[in-house]
Symmetry: C2
Subunit: 263 residues, 2 copies
């Protein structure tokens, strides 16, 4: 069992209740990463479902989540012939922190009937850049668990030369040896620095809503995580992410609505 | 009060319960249109919120919804300084039909800080085409309530010449005189024929999940509703829609995950 598998374990208490222990290793400056939290909730939802894969997850982030023991409460909404729907709530000390509407189904491994092109070509991974390790006191513990290699123009903001448009792109893999699966994809889809950093914004940018869809099971190897935004307005921005696997398939797609940081 | 305002009215019973009467005039072959149902649920959520606008709506469609009396049940999740979150459930005879996680906030009318380009130029509205009125026995009553003028290549499927890629684009306005508002946008964002018709698919394509974000208040006049898909695979497809107003602003964006029809 990998560290990530262990950190996302959901222990069944009864049909609709799972105990989890939220690992401080997936923090971004104290609060836990949203993708990690989705992975934990999806473990519970998939365990309770007759279907194997979390095909759709719509998530509302109510409050910043600290590490520690927590519960996932499930409310089954419908079990149909091809998919099951459930509501999942992440609860600590009686307070709801994250809400999700989850659809599970079992995906096959046939080819697509129609597939769009990859929206942006990435340079080879050798020409992409890791960011320097953050200072330990920053509590950016997530950065030690994942390996990101950035498309250089999209981390120009780090050296004071932002590209001027909301974008963020990187190769992604787990720091420990682990092939991607749907739970790793939940982490990958929310692992990039906010796209607005490239447009000149800084600071904590809290996600309000994030919906992602699992479109295929990922092949082993590096993932390409391609993020961009369409509009920054009135303190709100959107971030659209596609994840492509090493076999050239679109495996996940997401959009989040977030607030601009005040930093 | 317009017909649409009346058809989406939500009458407050108590703090968390609203009575609604689902109007058979927004049907697509019997079941009601998903955008119409979202508009009804948003009326209740906005009425109960201290904020004015439905900025984010994540919706799970559990069952096809027939016309008639129904209830919207709200469960307030959090009221913060800039936004409020609530869960909304559309219920008929004790059965849940639609679930939504809704975020309300109050949008300003300042310009965007950064805005992407319109993804596709539409020909002028005079060069776009209405589809012929459906036969009355088809129960496509929605088509009498809205006025759609299609970008010709995206309705080639209607005459047996689909474009070969998932796309659907049209000018949109209400059939009766009514300026667009956030509730009209909820209708507009799910009003196009499924994008997969252009890729050769036919038949009822049930939406499983649809998330949309309100990005700005729309100016009066025609809306441009621009839809495309990225992947058709394993019986599932995505449909991504942007709505642009007559002043050239991106006012709403959505993505839905749906099942291919068997027709």
């Amino acid at each position: 069992m990998t560290k990530f598998d262990e950190a996302t374990q959901a222990i069944r208490v009864d049909e609709t209740t799972y105990d989890v222990c939220l690992d401080p290793g997936y923090g971004i400056g104290g609060p836990l990463n949203g993708g990690y939290l989705m992975a934990v909730m999806l473990r519970a939802a998939v365990d309770a479902s007759p279907y194997e894969h979390p095909v759709s997850t719509a998530t509302q982030f109510l409050r910043a989540v600290p590490p520690g023991p927590a519960r996932v409460r499930l409310e089954p909404l419908k079990t149909g012939r091809t998919a099951a729907m459930t509501r999942a709530t992440l609860v600590q000390d009686g307070t709801a922190y994250v809400e999700a509407l989850i659809t599970t189904a079992t995906l096959g491994d046939g080819p697509g009937d129609w597939a769009g092109e990859v929206p942006v070509q990435m340079p080879p991974v050798e020409e992409c850049l890791p960011l320097p390790a953050p200072r330990p006191e920053s509590n950016m513990t997530l950065s030690t668990r994942i390996d990101l290699r950035f498309d250089p123009p999209t981390v120009g903001w780090y050296t004071g030369t932002p590209s001027g448009r909301p974008e963020s792109r990187a190769y992604f893999r787990m720091a420990e040896p682990q092939d991607p699966d749907p739970f790793v994809l939940a982490l990958a889809i929310d692992a990039l620095p906010p796209v607005v950093f490239s447009a000149g914004a800084r600071g904590w940018a809290p996600t309000v809503e994030l919906t992602w869809h699992l479109r295929a099971l990922p092949a082993p190897g590096w993932l390409r995580v391609l993020g961009h935004g369409r509009l920054i307005r009135d303190g709100w921005f959107d971030e659209d992410v596609e994840v492509w696997d090493s076999a050239g398939n679109l495996v996940a797609q997401s959009r989040q609505l977030a607030r601009l940081g005040r930093g």
